[in-house]
């Protein structure tokens, strides 16, 4: 069919366009000498060896992991607590929880940085320049996605009915939540966590404006190396990208068939927008 071939042609062009910057960077990170030929004259792994022997890189990486892990954990725990309280005790107030949780989604990092600096560079609580302000603000920027993820899986497993059933069988509310609902929504929680991790690994604006060189995360380190050695920086970019690929690859695992009703399937759509799309679908499902 001619029509099909046309689509295939467009898609191939598109994927070349999308992958070209990555491929270029990959080649550059593996090139030994590359001055005036189309492909490198010789290949080497030495940039990666050099990178992984650089303690500054390893420290930056572990700082990033620490900040991201803490903020994802805080965001999840705080949201789970709030969500259970609202769903069980104040179901009619759920729209307020949603409203508040969605605000960060409309506030660009550069804007929230101003407010955070206003509040936290003052004398009383001065945490600017420390990881704590990053953890707090990261926990906030992933809030919309954590909210969507948890809420969708709660509805998918009919959490309220599960709790009622467990109570009928003699369990307390807390026991019902811990031993019945939580295990059932674990997949949704993990997917929300993975999505948040992938997002936060690429975060630069807040890290640079709130903390900068005082607490060098992976992105800050990358920026510092930016104009120094092209090959080494390419190796950083590729390493960073491999992390993202592993995380999103795991995320896709959670979206495999067999859990079709599982709403995170729509979370393939990254960042910002997915919540909007999901929102409509979820509301439709509840009705």
């Amino acid at each position: 069919m001619i029509g099909k071939r046309k689509h295939l042609f467009i898609v191939i062009l598109l994927s070349i366009y999308l992958l070209l910057p990555l491929l270029g960077t990959l080649l550059y990170s593996l090139a030994d000498k590359w001055s005036d030929s189309i492909l490198p004259e010789s290949w080497t792994f030495s940039w990666y060896v050099m990178l992984f022997q650089d303690t500054r890189f390893l420290e930056a990486l572990s700082r990033s992991i620490f900040v991201i892990a803490s903020s994802v954990l805080i965001s999840l725990v705080v949201m789970l607590l709030a969500m259970f309280v609202v769903v069980i005790y104040f179901p009619s107030k759920e729209k307020y929880l949603k409203l508040v949780s969605m605000i960060p989604y409309g506030v660009p990092a550069i804007v929230s940085a101003i407010g955070l600096l206003n509040v936290y560079s003052s004398s009383s609580i001065s945490i600017v320049g420390t990881p704590w302000i990053l953890i707090g603000s990261y926990a906030i920027i992933i809030m919309p996605f954590v909210y969507q993820g948890i809420r969708n899986s709660l509805y998918t497993v009919n959490a309220v009915e599960l709790i009622h059933a467990a109570e009928l069988l003699g369990a307390t509310k807390i026991k019902a939540v811990i031993s019945v609902v939580l295990p059932n929504i674990m997949k949704g929680i993990l997917a929300a966590a993975l999505l948040s991790i992938a997002m936060l690994f690429g975060e630069f604006a807040l890290a640079n404006l709130l903390v900068g060189g005082q607490y060098e995360t992976l992105q800050i380190y990358l920026y510092q190396k930016f104009s120094k050695n092209g090959h080494l920086t390419s190796a950083i970019v590729i390493s960073y990208y491999i992390i993202i690929m592993v995380v999103t690859g795991l995320l896709i695992q959670f979206q495999q068939p067999g859990i079709k009703k599982f709403h995170f399937a729509k979370l393939r759509i990254p960042r910002f927008h997915k919540s909007q799309i999901q929102k409509k679908r979820v509301e439709g499902d509840i009705r």
């Binding site: 046309k6 598109l14 999308l18 660009p108 407010g115 206003n118 707090g136 975060e203 970019v237 927008h273």
Partner: protein, 280 residues
């Protein structure tokens, strides 16, 4: 309120603290600071300064222009590419969804760096084309207005495709057959069926792209530093280095940026309501 409900409220406490401390208090404080004069009294001084300073007006104009141009080009490419992706067979479709998904995380500093590798002064393509005797890139400067647009378009496209794909899934092949059976041609199919169905999704995506590029900071910062006059970069230069030079002015600029985004999202909401009455 029963006793258990009062205890339950305790469960909301961490959420309230986190949201207040890192979201609401900073936002309220920013708005408050923006209405302070440099001497610390209530005034519109900062806003008057911004809107009478050609430098800041230009920053606003540049930011709007770069957002509109990059979002427009990206939405056209994404609309065509997304349609083609949705028409692929299942396996190829999956591969493409994966590629767009993964590249949609490619932005900010790593992306800026990759473009420098490809199109910078000593970039692979720049050298390649100059050796081939083609001077397409001799006029091209990545660290400029046009370079920024090229990079912005790149990071908007996978993002836009991911948003559009669900809309395309709603476009059933059967409708096209039905339209053909009833005597319609390809043109009338798109005018009467295809575009009306896709329009809400496309407009919604377009506004999100606008907002996305208006607030983008990292990519532009890595490429042009503060040498190009964009609103996020100007705000950044006022607060960078942890030394808060002019908190009131920066706050007012932040409010202006947030307002522009709110207006874009508000227009989006209005247009969507007009087109999709089923949302009401």
């Amino acid at each position: 309120m029963s006793r258990s409900k009062v205890y339950a409220l305790l469960g909301l406490l961490p959420f309230a603290i986190l949201i207040t401390g890192f979201l609401l208090a900073p936002l309220v404080n920013m708005i408050y600071q923006s209405f302070q004069s440099n001497e610390g009294t209530f005034s519109l001084e900062q806003y008057i300064n911004i809107f009478s300073d050609p430098f800041y007006l230009q920053a606003i104009k540049n930011s709007l222009m770069i957002s509109i141009i990059s979002a427009t080009v990206a939405i056209v490419i994404a609309a065509i590419g997304g349609y083609s992706i949705s028409r692929l067979s299942n396996r190829e479709n999956k591969v493409m969804v994966m590629i767009t998904n993964m590249t949609s995380y490619f932005e900010g500093i790593p992306l800026a760096f990759s473009f420098i590798i490809l199109l910078g002064n000593n970039g692979l393509f720049t050298l390649l084309f100059s050796q081939l005797g083609l001077d397409i890139f001799s006029q091209f400067n990545l660290y400029s207005w046009i370079g920024l647009i090229v990079v912005y378009i790149y990071f908007q496209i996978p993002f836009a495709i991911m948003l559009l794909l669900p809309t395309y899934q709603g476009l059933k092949m059967e409708w096209r057959y039905a339209s053909n059976l009833l005597g319609g041609n390809s043109f009338s199919y798109w005018i009467h069926i295809g575009i009306p169905i896709l329009l809400p999704g496309i407009i919604g995506t377009y506004t999100i792209l606008l907002a996305n590029s208006l607030g983008a900071y990292a990519t532009a910062y890595a490429l042009v530093g503060s040498t190009y006059n964009l609103l996020p970069l100007q705000i950044g230069s006022l607060i960078a280095g942890d030394v808060f030079l002019q908190p009131h002015l920066a706050s007012a600029l932040g409010v202006v940026l947030a307002l522009i985004m709110i207006v874009a999202l508000w227009i989006n909401g209005r247009v969507m309501r007009k087109i999709r009455r089923d949302l009401d």
